[in-house]
Symmetry: C2
DNA sequence: GGTCAACAGTTGACAATGTCAAGCATCGTC
DNA sequence: GACGATGCTTGACATTGTCAACTGTTGACC
């Protein structure tokens, strides 16, 4: 019964830690004036990616990817390139998009709580526990 | 360099796990037709609480507590009771609020990923790691 | 070859969860 | 008694999404 409460509180703190990570991310990308989801999407674009794939990777609605793409295209960081299947649009980084992606990457990794606060062994523990929580 | 990436991905998975917890919570309280923050606030009201204290405990703006209180009062689960300091409003559970709080408590603890997926030892590990992430 | 279900992307409307600034009443202090 | 600090409220707004409906394209089956 007390165990029940301790588990719930642990859950609360876990969520707080996650929110701290998100806040760190948001703070790190502040200078670039990108929305958080746009920055996340940018980091996933190592090569031209179909929008559908992005919505899978970010686990969000396809329509949301449309809006992120609008933002990034409006800023000149990506182009929409029609795919072989002409229903598909690939999002491809422009040259300035590549630079922006590198800047974002540098900023968010320089600021990474997980790396700054945890040893390698602790990260491995955490990775294991998170996998358990996510149900494998 | 690869370590940098592994840390970032671990952070992403940690956030995913937290979002899973939040989704579990939201699902558990679905039958009660309470908003998530209202349900969280309810769980904190073991005794009459000044609104200010709630905004500290939920780490959110005071004005947001006003809205949560409006919701809970509108549903008949709490009353606003003026405190000794007459600037302060205490939120006090009504009888039906007490019952609702118990229902919510039962629903969210029955559904707790942390307890269901982790052994006691693993929960202690996780607690330690989360404390490190939160910077003590 | 024509039909039709399924799929990708877009758009508009909306929901949830907040924050911020301004204002009001009250309090404690000088 | 005046005044700055505190607690609550209200209105406006931001962020991060979801859902339903639509368009255009594809692949598969008759």
């Amino acid at each position: 019964m007390d165990e029940v409460n301790a588990s719930r509180e642990l859950g609360v703190r876990l969520v707080q830690a996650a929110e701290r990570l998100k806040a760190d991310f948001a703070e790190a990308i502040l200078p670039f004036e990108l929305s958080v989801p746009a920055a996340r999407a940018l980091l996933l674009m190592d090569e031209p990616v179909p929008m559908r794939v992005l919505s899978d990777r970010l686990t969000c609605d396809q329509s949301y990817i449309t809006r992120i793409a609008d933002e990034l295209e409006g800023r000149g960081f990506i182009q929409r390139v029609p795919g072989a299947d002409r229903r598909v649009q690939l999002l491809k980084l422009t040259r300035s998009g590549i630079r922006m992606r590198e800047s974002v990457f540098a900023a968010v990794t320089a600021n990474n709580r997980v790396q700054l606060h945890l040893s390698r062994a602790e990260r491995e523990q955490l990775d294991h526990l998170v996998a358990l929580l996510l149900g494998d």
